[in-house]
Amino acid sequence: MEARIRARVNLALTFFALLFFVAGSSPPRQFVISNAERRIDLSSHIINVHLTLKVENAGTRPASEVVLALTPTEVDHLAMVDASAIKGKRKKTTSLRLEVKPTELPDAPPIDTKYFTIYLANPLNSGESTTLEVLYVFTHFLEPFPAEIAQSESQLVFYHDTALILSSYHIKQQTTFIKTPSTKVESFIRMEPTNRVGTEIKYGPYEDRPPYSISPIHVHFENNSPFAVVEELVQEIEISHWGNIQVTEHYKLIHAGARHKGVFSRVDYQSRQSSNGASSFRYLLARLPPRVHSVYYRDEIGNISSSHLRTDSLKSELQIEPRYPLFGGWKATFVIGYGLPLQDFLFESSDDKRYLNFTFGCPLIGMVVDKLTIKVVLPEGSTDPSPVVPFPVEHHLEL
């Protein structure tokens, strides 16, 4: 009975972008990478790195743990790492997701390399090879330079990397492609053979590089994509007995690109849109679940009238416009709230428990979230809640 009386249960989950595990067995250094291809996409402030590795077991025993090496700066900005094994040839390829875990290696080389281990589904026998695809997502990785720009200037950023792929294995052949958002590249460091065509810079191919060989490069280029960062997002999911889920999201948004300097001239902004405020942004798009209702968009001082909702059977799109365009360093806070039908998200299992199945994350597109807190408010009378999240999170129960 007591449990029923103090029934309002808040379950808070906190998720940080970077997670650390301690798991450790030293993997045998018996692989050789026969071919590595890296494609770096710099078109927004979220950097996607696609790494295709052809891994060959040069050792004598079967092995199943492939180690990836990353520099400490890369690890600091790493938001996600994902690996999959490619089966089949050419068009009939299938990919199989593999488990990736951070690892500590005892015999680490002089630079503070950090490691991630990929656990292959089937051990690779001696002499066999397989193709792995690795996706890294980095955030806050582009450094605006100059750090302060005026309204009429475009935003230039630095991208730092190494032309050679950092690896604890011998790489026989490697190529790196860097894709910039436009052809406007101020400068980049060459390491022959280097070739630039259009929006793509090609480093390589480089032959037979020993483990841990690096060659620092940078690319200084124009990137006017919105550097929209949510410094803090608090999402409250309130489950009601009456067939409704009410979601309230509190955003603290900032333009994390080059800081705006000097005047903001409305007449320039209005009349010369193409050359003015190129790095600023006005619109944000939120993709909400279908059958969303009672959507509102407001802040501390009232409703913000500039928003549009488009709904169809698969998704709902909410286009919102902050009260003013955001220039570098400008902030805005706002709240988005909406209701959802309960039956779309709450399921009953045979053991008389109920499951809330809800997507973890931020519905705004192209957004980096630095700190995310999700609060699930359970209805009266709920007991023993437990979260199931595919990655580790901090969570605690508030009564």
């Binding site: 000097g262 005047v263 903001f264 409305r266 007449v267 009232g302 500039s306 003013y324 360093g329 400008w330």
Partner: protein, 728 residues
């Protein structure tokens, strides 16, 4: 057969009992409907816009209420606000009427206690409509007290929709007047009840009503002057009674003691000239009582006459001397300018430009009387006639309330509000009496017709009845026509009230709406855009200089420190800002730097055609600035006594700071098709100085429709200052 008549009469009896019950039922249900009507007719703005606070002053009230909910009563009482009147600050607890905020927080706490998860903003938005509903109930009881329950019902209906009251009590207009009109009417009602009954309990209630009024609004001065005046009139007209003595003394003494608990009012009841009338009447009352007693003791009339003469002369002399001494010694403060301007409408215009500059302090135009009262304006004299026909203590009171408040309503637009309850009550008497007379006429005629028909069969006629019968058809038709006329007028009144509420009094003024070219609704949300920009993108301790109108909004919504705000307590400080706005830029920058200003905010309507902007208010800045600093001279800004901004404008006008800030880079802007660039749509002219250069300020933000423009004060150039010191 014999039982039949008996049962019929029983039925009749029970039916008769039922009519009384029915009457009660109808009365209660009408009151309930009126109560609901008064609330929902004020919700136009919430439905059309959103649940938000309107105008200027309500933002301060909202901010203080928020502070009260967050920090509790004692912190609120001791609150020193650093965010306004920089660098002076403001002792908020001692300079406001806390009634409104305490009321809202009380409602909020009660709702929270009942497990309604409301936000304090919703409570604030709906406080005024809620109290308007309560006012209708008080109006009913008041009408019942001075006339009859019919008049009370009509009064309740009239006041529920009267635009004069709605103008200050729509949802979102979270201002002192919202609760004060309720408190005012309640105090008057209970006082009249106390005078009628002589009951100590009612006069105690009126003292508490007065206390609530004092805690809510500065308009309590009206009560503390009207009631003594009323008592004086009763004394003069020989209506002195023990009931009056009990009611007034109890109400005055207790009300005064209670009112002293409000820090903003303090000892004004014994020290300020505006409250002296009440005290004088109080002493006069004692003299009257004493004389009454002496008259009772002395049987000799001659002796009493002599005694009366001596007592009255000495009492008046002592009172006069005391008043004179108090005035001379400065113990009793003289009347304030605001009070004085009520008695002499031209006073403010000549002496206190800051009062005259407020639009709601202007003398009332005839049209706004019509707008706010509609048919009540014609019913008011009719009601006065009925009141005079049936004079009693209560009707004398309502007549005096009506006449004095009507005078004040003529002096200041905003005081129409105070007159509204009286006008509604007196008009209700007129309506109720007329309709009652007419229906009585109709009913009696029906009887006459019946008797006539029986008479026709009986064949016996008296001459007087024949006379009645002759005038019958004409009278009946006339009565029906008059009744229809009355109902037509009342329905016109209801239509007018709804229309006025919907069109004129339900816009929040912080969000502007206009019709687009295709008939669609265009929203200008520039104020909030600018305030939110200030809130998010300026340093926490930034100081914003603007004209005082926007002070409350900047602190409440922008959360930034302002130099001056709508609490116009320091005229010099406001004049300094006015001087800065009307000086050349290099002179203004010295004032701006001395005030430690970081941002300057101006409101500009040239792009949208929004007419209440700073350029249109600018002459008041010049006047107020010039009132303290004679360097600023109004004629410098005028050309042949004309105020203009185009090419023919005065050179000082074209180069003063306000002009520059409003029109900076406006010369490049195309506002209207077929007009030259730099065409000011609010004033309909092409501006005179298109090449505005700013030296010490830079544009920091301009809203999407240019309504609010914010400038950043550039950091001082040290070398420039050194040069100033060397050569200046």
């Amino acid at each position: 057969m014999a039982t039949m008549p008996a049962s019929a009469s029983d039925l009749l009896k029970s039916f008769k009992l039922k009519t009384k019950q029915q009457e009660l039922l109808i009365r209660v249900s009408i009151l309930c409907l009126v109560y609901i009507l008064a609330f929902i007719t004020r919700l136009f703005s919430v439905l059309r816009y959103e649940s938000m606070i309107h105008e200027f002053d309500p933002y301060f009230n909202y901010r203080t209420t928020l502070y009260l909910t967050e920090n509790g009563f004692y912190d609120f009482w001791n609150w020193f606000d650093y965010e306004s009147w920089y660098p002076l600050g403001r002792i908020v607890g001692g300079t406001l009427y806390p009634g409104l905020m305490v009321t809202a927080v009380l409602i909020y706490r009660i709702l929270r206690f009942l497990r309604f998860a409301v936000h304090i903003r919703e409570v604030c938005v709906l406080t005024a409509p809620f109290f308007a509903s309560n006012t209708t109930l008080v109006a009913y009881f008041f009408g019942k007290e001075i006339w009859d329950s019919g008049a009370g019902l009509v009064a309740a209906i009239l006041i529920a929709v009267c635009p004069g009251y709605i103008s200050r009590s729509v949802a979102g207009s979270y201002d002192n007047e919202g609760v004060a009109i309720f408190a005012l009417l309640f105090t008057f009602y209970v006082f009249v009840k106390a005078v009628n009954t002589g009951s100590l309990a009612w006069s105690l209630a009126s003292a508490f009503g007065y206390f609530y009024m004092v805690s809510a609004w500065g308009g309590y001065v009206f009560i503390i002057n009207l009631i003594p005046l009323y008592v004086l009139v009763l004394l003069i007209t020989g209506r002195y009674s023990m009931r009056l003595y009990v009611a007034y003394n109890c109400m005055y003494i207790l009300g005064m003691l209670l009112a002293m608990q409000i820090r903003f009012v303090g000892f004004q009841h014994v020290q300020s000239g505006e409250h002296m009338a009440a005290m004088g009447v109080f002493f006069l009352m004692q003299v009257f009582y004493f004389l009454d007693w002496v008259k009772h003791m002395l049987s000799d009339t001659k002796l009493f006459q002599a005694f009366l003469r001596i007592t009255v002369t000495s009492a008046v002399a002592v009172g006069g001397i005391a008043l004179g001494l108090g005035m001379v010694s400065g113990y009793i403060s003289p009347w304030t300018g605001r009070f004085y301007s009520l008695l002499d409408p031209t006073y403010a215009k000549d002496h206190i430009p800051i009062i005259a500059s407020v639009s709601e302090h202007q003398p009332t135009a005839w049209s706004s009387f019509m707008f706010d009262f509609h048919i009540l304006l014609f019913l008011f004299p009719a009601g006065l006639y009925f009141c005079f026909k049936r004079l009693s203590d209560a009707t004398i009171f309502i007549v005096m309330y009506g006449l004095t408040s009507m005078y004040f309503a003529g002096v200041m637009v905003r005081l129409i509000l105070v007159a509204t309850p009286a006008v509604c009550l007196i008009s209700a008497i007129a309506v109720s009496t007329t309709v009652k007379n007419l229906t009585v006429l109709l009913r009696s005629k029906n009887k006459v017709v019946q008797t006539g028909s029986t008479k026709g069969s009986g064949g016996s006629k008296s001459s007087s009845k024949a006379l009645l019968d002759q005038s019958q058809p004409f009278q009946k038709n006339g009565a029906i026509a008059l009744l229809f006329g009355a109902f037509y007028l009342l329905s016109r009144y209801a239509t007018h009230c709804t229309w006025v509420t919907s069109e004129a009094y339900s816009s929040p003024s912080i969000v502007l709406a206009a019709r687009g070219a295709h008939g669609n609704r265009v929203i200008f949300d520039d104020y909030r855009e600018a305030y939110f920009w200030l809130r998010q993108n300026t340093p926490q301790d930034a100081k914003v200089m603007s004209w005082w109108d926007y002070g409350y909004q900047i602190t409440a919504m922008g959360n930034r420190t302002v130099i001056v705000d709508n609490n116009t307590w320091n005229n010099t400080h406001i004049a300094t800002v006015g001087r800065a706005m009307s000086s050349y830029e290099d002179e203004a920058i010295e004032i701006i730097r001395s005030l430690d200003v970081d941002y300057v905010l101006v409101v500009f309507g040239g792009v949208t055609g929004y007419s209440s902007d700073d350029i249109n208010k600018f002459l008041w800045m010049v006047r107020i600035g010039g009132g303290v600093f004679p360097v600023i001279k109004e004629p410098d800004y005028l050309v042949n006594g004309e105020y203009r901004v185009d090419k023919g404008a005065a050179p000082k006008m074209l180069n003063c700071l306000m002009y520059k800030l409003c029109y900076y880079r406006f010369g490049e802007m195309m506002t209207e098709y077929g007009k030259p660039p730099g065409y000011d749509r609010a004033r309909g002219v092409e501006i005179g100085n298109k090449d505005v250069k700013l030296e010490h300020l830079e544009e920091a933000f301009t809203t999407s429709n240019w309504i609010v423009r914010i400038y950043r004060v550039k950091p001082a150039n040290n070398r420039w200052w050194l040069n100033r010191y060397k050569f200046g």
